[in-house]
């Protein structure tokens, strides 16, 4: 039986953990003291780099490396915590922010010090009202205790920290769109390069990290890079909070060592599909990840193996779909999401998502031909890599993977709906005929 490895979630059930008193009693903010007073900036960045911590938001980029890209010197630098957790299936940051906001704040202060940033913002999605309220209260507490503000703990480091609420847009989870939203604009992604590490918020160097990534930082400072590397695999170090949802018996957040098999996560920890159902497919890393079928269940769950299987670890959200759900409906719901959330800046994404939805609706109405499967595949192939950000790709990749793996079901669905429609039409015209004949007799 697989077990969780609770490192980030160690004290998560402690009552009152969201208050600073309980958090400090459990050793909170002692890491901050170490990072600010005992360690040099360089040392801090080196430690983060040595730990092999990879970004937990979706891209999996090395966190220490990202911090090392921030230029040195006296200039306005910023840190943004990406708490715009909008990837369907992902709800790990919500848990961390709700239960343990001070861990995040401590991580932010340490990371800001490593990057030399004097202003930090937590960009949280507006729908998370409860979590934003908790965070705001926690920031106030930290300010009152002197952990945030001028010359923290008597060091020469000062930091200003604000919670900034988004107003409901999936695209703001994309780092450059997040920066635009934070600057008070529409959340349109920017052309890269320049990358945010050089020109980000207000054109200043900006470090952007996910909530879970930043929550790992205090632990690495406390226990060292070697301790962190003792978890997980060589290239995917550390633990990962996995959000399991969809057709499973015990949906929820599970903290695991990377490298555990998918079956252990889905079937042992999350209880597997409902009685009498089989797993049809699953999204291994949020809805943007290409789907995998049941035969991929025995793969180790880490960045490399998921990439090798043609998908990705993404945000670490596993959505399980069982055999009671038609794949065309999944594809349609998915495409509708991306159509709604496309910012409309790049044509392939704006038009591609729209046409994919229209064609899938046509399939469901019985007006499609098998050729439409081909056309959807082509349209989606033309989205990938042709936009400023990966939102369009995030629809194209899973939709294409569904077509590739369930082509028979698509064709069968088209045929069945077409026959249903034909029967309806026949019944309708017979009815009309009868009515007109009846009128003739009268």
């Amino acid at each position: 039986m697989a077990e969780q490895t609770r490192v980030l979630l160690e004290h998560i059930d402690e009552p009152g953990l969201a208050t600073i008193d309980v958090y400090e009693r459990l050793g909170g903010y002692s890491r901050l003291r170490k990072a600010l007073i005992e360690m040099q900036d360089e040392e801090l960045v080196n430690e983060l780099e040595a730990s092999g911590l990879r970004g937990r938001g979706g891209a999996g980029f090395a966190m220490g490396k990202k911090a090392s890209f921030i230029p040195k010197g006296a200039m306005d630098k910023y840190l943004c915590c990406n708490a715009d957790e909008s990837e369907p299936g992902t709800f790990k940051d919500r848990l961390l922010m709700q239960q343990n906001p001070h861990l995040l704040i401590e991580g932010i202060i340490i990371a800001a010090r490593a990057a030399g940033a004097n202003r930090a913002f937590i960009f949280i999605r507006g729908e998370y009202e409860l979590q934003a309220d908790i965070l705001e209260k926690a920031v106030e507490e930290a300010k009152a205790k002197g952990y945030v503000g001028e010359r923290i703990l008597g060091s020469d480091f000062s930091l200003e920290l604000w919670v900034h609420r988004g107003q409901g847009a999936y695209i703001c989870g994309e780092e450059s769109a997040l920066l635009d939203a934070l600057e008070g604009k529409r959340g349109n992604p920017r052309l890269k390069p320049p990358f945010p590490a050089n020109q980000g918020l207000y054109q200043g160097p900006t470090l952007i990290n996910n909530v879970e990534t930043l929550c790992n930082v205090p632990l690495i400072v406390e226990k060292g890079a070697d301790w962190f590397k003792s978890f997980g695999t060589e290239k995917s170090a550390g633990t990962k909070i996995v959000s399991v949802s969809g057709n499973v018996q015990r949906p929820g957040n599970y903290e695991i060592e990377l490298g555990m098999t998918v079956r252990e996560i889905v079937c042992d920890l999350a209880g597997g599909p409902p009685e009498g159902r089989e797993i049809k497919c699953f999204f291994p890393g949020g809805s943007s990840a290409p789907v995998l079928t049941a035969d991929a269940l025995d793969l180790p769950y880490d960045f490399e193996n998921m990439a090798e299987a043609g998908s990705m670890l993404g945000s670490g959200a596993i959505i399980v779909i069982d055999d009671s759900v038609p794949i065309v409906e999944v594809a349609l719901r998915l495409a509708e999401f991306y159509r709604h959330e496309s910012c409309g800046k790049c044509t392939p994404c704006r038009e591609g998502t729209n046409w994919t939805v229209k064609m899938l609706e046509r399939m469901d109405r019985g007006e499609a031909t098998p050729m439409d499967v081909e056309i959807i595949d082509q349209v989606n192939a033309n989205i990938i890599g042709n936009c400023l950000c990966v939102l369009g790709d995030s629809m194209a990749m899973p939709v294409r993977s569904m077509i590739e793996k369930f082509r028979d079901e698509f064709e069968e669905h088209i045929e069945r709906r077409r026959q249903e429609l034909a029967q309806q039409d026949y019944a309708l015209s017979a009815h009309e005929l009868a009515a007109s004949e009846g009128a003739g007799i009268a």
Partner: protein, 200 residues
């Protein structure tokens, strides 16, 4: 010497042409930054927006939270609300409209002060979220001032199928819960006590 670009556009040289009176009359004149002295802004709203602006190196950053504050006051981002924010932030109403139309949580029509957002995204969908939405929609047909709509992933897939009622997450829901939710909204209470996120 032949001159480049001679034609009706350049007939007056480099000077802009006199505005054509018949053209100018056609459309509405774009609004300029409203004068704070001439705009009736509620004092609390002005204070809140000014506090928000002081948080950022560039005051434009306050646009989103400022519009949200105005929406809390007015119920939606009405032209009046947008003018008030524009006056305090010293930006044009058009700038704020571009933002209000982009974000899902900002309403540019009076859809109701309360809301029920039912998540029907890809993780809630296999758990019959659409039936929950339809049931709530039907039960709440006669509710005034409540915006019942489908919403994209709300980040609570462990509660699937779920809904956000005025910011409070409730779930897992059954279509049979719809009546109770609507009744609670009519009485102005929190629906399904004990079944919300963070209730326990």
């Amino acid at each position: 010497m032949t001159q480049k670009g001679t034609g009706p556009f350049f007939a007056q040289g480099t000077q802009p042409a006199e505005p054509d009176a018949s053209v100018a009359k056609k459309g509405p004149v774009p609004k300029v930054v409203p004068d704070l002295a001439e705009t009736d802004v509620p004092q609390e709203l002005q204070a809140e927006i000014e506090e928000l602006m002081s948080r950022y190196p560039d005051h434009h950053s306050a646009a989103l939270p400022a519009l949200a504050a105005a929406q809390r006051l007015h119920g939606w981002c009405s032209p009046e609300a947008i003018d008030q924010v524009a006056a305090v932030m010293r930006v044009t109403p058009a700038y704020l409209s571009s933002i209000a139309t982009f974000y899902d949580m900002l309403n540019t029509e009076p859809v109701g002060r309360q809301y029920v957002w039912v998540c029907t995204s890809v993780a809630c969908m296999p758990k019959n979220a659409k039936a929950v939405y339809d049931a709530i929609r039907e039960a709440g047909g006669d509710l005034d001032d409540v915006n019942i709509r489908e919403f994209e992933c709300l980040g609570a897939c462990d509660l699937a199928p779920m809904a956000s009622v005025n910011g409070r997450y409730i779930g897992p829901l059954q279509p049979s819960d719809a009546e109770q939710i609507v009744e609670a909204l009519k009485r102005g209470e929190q629906p399904l006590p004990g079944r919300g996120l963070g209730d326990g």
